[in-house]
Symmetry: C2
Amino acid sequence: MSQLRKDPLVNRWTIIATERARRPAAFVDPQSTVTNQKNCPYCQDKASPCIDESNGVKIINSSSPILDDSKPFEPHRHGLYEAAHSYGSHEIVVESPEHIANMADLPLVQIKAVLQAYALRMQTHRKNPFIEYTLAYKNYGVAAGSRNIGHARSQIMAVSVLPMRVKDKISGAEKYFDVHERCLFCDMVSQEIKNKERVIVENEHFVVIAPFASRFPFESWVLPKFHQCDFVEGIKAQEDSLASIMKDILLRFKIGLNDPAYNYMIQTSPVKDASSYKDYYHWHIEVMPRLTRVAGFERGTGFYICPIPPEMAAAFLREVDIRA
Amino acid sequence: MSQLRKDPLVNRWTIIATERARRPAAFVDPQSTVTNQKNCPYCQDKASPCIDESNGVKIINSSSPILDDSKPFEPHRHGLYEAAHSYGSHEIVVESPEHIANMADLPLVQIKAVLQAYALRMQTHRKNPFIEYTLAYKNYGVAAGSRNIGHARSQIMAVSVLPMRVKDKISGAEKYFDVHERCLFCDMVSQEIKNKERVIVENEHFVVIAPFASRFPFESWVLPKFHQCDFVEGIKAQEDSLASIMKDILLRFKIGLNDPAYNYMIQTSPVKDASSYKDYYHWHIEVMPRLTRVAGFERGTGFYICPIPPEMAAAFLREVDIRA
């Protein structure tokens, strides 16, 4: 038997395997995802010229950018279709001068510097009137869409259209606020901390939960306990706290699940009209190991099938001993 | 440089690599996806009891169903969350008595029997007043979410909630109809056949195109040339034609891309209120080889990045010689 669960934000249903759920140990990755590449371009300064550098974190332009500012974003029609130049920016954040693969293994001070670099680059891109959204994210390991180079890095994209997924989240948060006059994320934080069973770890400013309608096994959301729609404003004076909880959850993945591939995405508010989101949107980070493949059912319906209940995933991750 | 392209149905943007596009040959799968498993459960009748059998196609219940009818779909609240029993049905279509892995290698008459079995099962499930949608789909190969057994099979799901992705498609088609008083899919078929560059193959009743805003390399849509919202009605008297064009596109994948993993999903209209969709919805099949991994940018935005322009993918698939 399985259970259907609805994500309260975007109304997306997930099918959660319960009785037939796979045990957490069944997801432990049989092989490590990262192999070292010789002649690492990020060690040897062979990569693109540096845009910015501070505290050992380097920002460079992607060598194969999927967004650039060579032409403006001007949609034009092709019959019933619409296309435009892929305007924006695509930067790589080289997270450390050391050749270390997994952010989980970086010192706290280095993770803090990476988070600060995200905020600084976002601030810069927001000054561009053609930018609607900035996304900082990481692909770690081949299964997460990264190449095997073995040098920790993440990416920052600045795009000229508001992404559909951000729109859906904002619209869901607004609807909840209209009914309850409260932020959905704040309510979620309270309920999860009170309920405990989906909490993986928490500190003074943040809590990491396995979301109720998890799409993926061991999916984890890093939720700020204090209401703020914007990542850049949100981490001010809380960088140490965020660095510490990010390292914690990434170490739990690494130790508990044998260094799996993973993605994380910082979900902040749109660049424009920030004042209209400030009451009901709440920035957060989605972190997800990549242990299963999305199949035809997910593609055909938009539903997800999660092979382990989030309560079981949270209990497993809580018990991982990260004091190595 | 890349191009942003908007899907006219669901307004989803895709970033299409153009100048930096990978050449089609770069996607050819280095290894065959299917290895044979000894003691195939589908050969040895060790699988679940047969629900239906005709023309060598067997319908069985999934041995690990993610939907079942043991309890009704009755949503209940957990604080701000909502959950329900995962009501519905989950059936496996064993496509042939022979141990053949890829539908591309089945005789036409067998593919036709599979399509007829989909229609028959859909008709049965629709009589259940608690069913809102029926999805027939296939996962072929590990990268597509299937196990390596080497015996062609597909799946039929009947679900008690209308999937988000189906809702989005219907809402997009309705908006287009409201403005143009025409079916978006019919207009797409006309434009694509006139334009030719994204057409992979066509016959009397169907055309296969690489969609303008392709999400994945070599993504292909099988579009009926005649307007009909419903798969069950739509294939009547056209089963031979559909079987022939399905075999054709699957052979092009197999020969041109070295037997890659793939999914297909039959996108038909919802079970209820069929009369309200009939003017503007148009059934179709999405077919997609699984050659790349979705990464953090896609997960964080809902955008997709397609590393090859659909025009180049279509030209490559058109030229594959399938008369082996």
